[in-house]
Symmetry: C2
Subunit: 451 residues, 2 copies
Amino acid sequence: MTTESDITTLADQLSELLDGHAVDAAVEMIASIHPADQADLYDNLDPEKREGLLALLSADGLAQLLQHLDEDQRQEIIQRMPRASLARVLDRMDNDEAADVLQQLPPAEAARVLANMTTAAQVTPLLEHEEESAGGIMTRGYVALHKDMTVQQAVTYLRLRKPFTEEASYLYVLDSTNHLEGVVNLRDLVVADPDTTIDEIMVRDIISVEPGTDREEAARILQRYRLRALPVVDSEGVLQGIITADDIIDVLSEEATEDMYRMAGVGVQEWVFSPLRESVMRRIPWLSFNMLWAFAGAAVITLFEGTLEKVAALAIFMPMIAGQAGNAGIQTATIVVRSMALGEVSVGDLLRVLSKEWALGAIKGTIFGTALGIIAWLWKDNPTLGFVAGLSLFCNMLVAATAGVLIPMTLRRLGFDPATIAGVFDTMLTDLMGFLIYLGLATIFITQLQG
Amino acid sequence: MTTESDITTLADQLSELLDGHAVDAAVEMIASIHPADQADLYDNLDPEKREGLLALLSADGLAQLLQHLDEDQRQEIIQRMPRASLARVLDRMDNDEAADVLQQLPPAEAARVLANMTTAAQVTPLLEHEEESAGGIMTRGYVALHKDMTVQQAVTYLRLRKPFTEEASYLYVLDSTNHLEGVVNLRDLVVADPDTTIDEIMVRDIISVEPGTDREEAARILQRYRLRALPVVDSEGVLQGIITADDIIDVLSEEATEDMYRMAGVGVQEWVFSPLRESVMRRIPWLSFNMLWAFAGAAVITLFEGTLEKVAALAIFMPMIAGQAGNAGIQTATIVVRSMALGEVSVGDLLRVLSKEWALGAIKGTIFGTALGIIAWLWKDNPTLGFVAGLSLFCNMLVAATAGVLIPMTLRRLGFDPATIAGVFDTMLTDLMGFLIYLGLATIFITQLQG
């Protein structure tokens, strides 16, 4: 485990070794560092030193490093690699990661690389699945047993086969046509009497997903049943691959980031140090959309320009009526979006959720509407202004509650991600409706307001 | 694996069995259901049927069910349980979960229950750690080996000890005073020659955390190094417990929920079907705070009431200047908060982040400021109004960029969670500054505006 300042020190040391052509010392140093830290080290090196680091790595070492680098840097390295070396390196990567790399190459090139790979048979089937599906994150690396083996035979087989650690948490019992019959926990294999058969210790009630299952759904299942891997089985019961807990951890964290960014209208692929140009391209479209709506709001206000000319004080409470309801709506939308993501609520619960949020909206509306009404009345010495402002806030709180539930649920029903601009959409609607209700009521009561 | 409609069917079947006093059939049925699904089933039963279900469970079964129920329901069941049965059930739970239950009892009562527990020695040390720390989520259930054992001896020991599955991914090599000397992967134990010693196959370069480490930091380390468990070691190198991947998955998903809710000013403990009263209590405080700020905004507008009386059209673009910048600020704040949560950026990167966001803010400000300026000019046939509105939006975009970076980073520096109302704080500031800049500029150019 290495801290940020350690990494800087290591980067300096490695740069010195490379400058002094101390190749052996540099190789030894790199070998002592965890690939996750090597990735940070790579990040901290000058471009020409990066080349030096890559040149020192074996195919195995390079495969490990690539698995820990972020996608942009990985692509950049892969672009420049000779195609023959690339095949050798991909053979040494987890095959789900190798498939990800191949999917980002031009198809003709990917085919050429695949032709040189010894793991082509495992990787090829992974290429047909969507990135966001269970098939897209599964690996073909699993250990298959037969139910008639004894525990001793299975252990002997494992000693010969030497599976990777991630592959070994569960062992899969297949029949002669690869149908999944049972699962053996590695712990159970170790603890069992050597003479018992696999048949006796395997679990038959298997929790699995299909290749087309959404990866978020797969993550929820693994989390719910506290598993360390999940078999992916096609509709005929044939084992296609497995999804391991470390991949699920990445999925959960990516999906949470996506939801937060979507709520705020930020590009899903952005991070804090994305190049400026990329950040501009990702944020502008949504802000433009927002601007169009804001003009709709402006048009509503224009309708009532005559009213505003007569009672300029109306402008004072306009942003508050829109904003307070907008924030209440974001509270509702956030809870609905996150609860749907966690699988705690579905579109079928619409009426139950809506009636709760209406009740809540009515309570919030009564409290804040009354407060605003009294304060506006006393501040501007105008009881009608207080009445109009307070009633508008109450009504707009109900608009916010409705929109906060309906917008994400409608997006889900239409097949979109419910987080897609749900928060923002809500704000736009409460702005528009807030202006309309408030200035509309003011126009009705204009005589009393001026009194 | 069971779907939502399966659960409803199962609940109906179980209700019937309980009504008919078919105890054996009911016991058999429950035994065939995964505890995660039993928890859903419990949720779907009428209150009196729930009692029936609980009565049918063994101490083991009840321990499993309690581990899968949500906290409210767990507390409710525990309140009503005789203290002697509670000790028996807690003995059968993971000891980190048992510690969580005990921590929620009144201290005197917890001590009485502990006195009756056979696992008191494992659970007691867990009680002193904060819930949000590594110590608060670790379990004492781990398998300890000695380095002089052979692989064969270790396997024999495992057969006698029969550890839980979660405990068995890694085995920990301790010296006679419990100092952690190495870690053995279960897979490596199985694959190794039976006559080699543990010393030869153990990993000495151990990735660990201290009991006081924040649980979010522990989660990041486990994710970064793709581990399935993480040892918790005190400052003297003595093993205190382990954190397993399934607990980390829960932490990641809870922390992501917390950040989303905090950004929106929603209570961290709320979910979509929280009781109405609880939801009211959780949402009102923050909305009240927001209302106070909105009055500050109203006070700013009041300062310029004279200007608004002269040019009522000014009110039209007021919400847009505040809102468009507010949304840009939320984009920035969301990216900064999430990047800090994922450990991709720290307070030390302040200047680098700030300069990027300023550049971005200037670009957004130029694009949208120019667009607003031209549209306002043509729409209201007033070039000065266009100039004032456009320039105000440009300036407010810079305010938004500054606030979007500074607010979460300052909160982190002060020791608060950076997500705490970061998004909302930003909106408040852009509202206030937007009104001030826009109406201030309008007052300066009032003669030309009226022209």
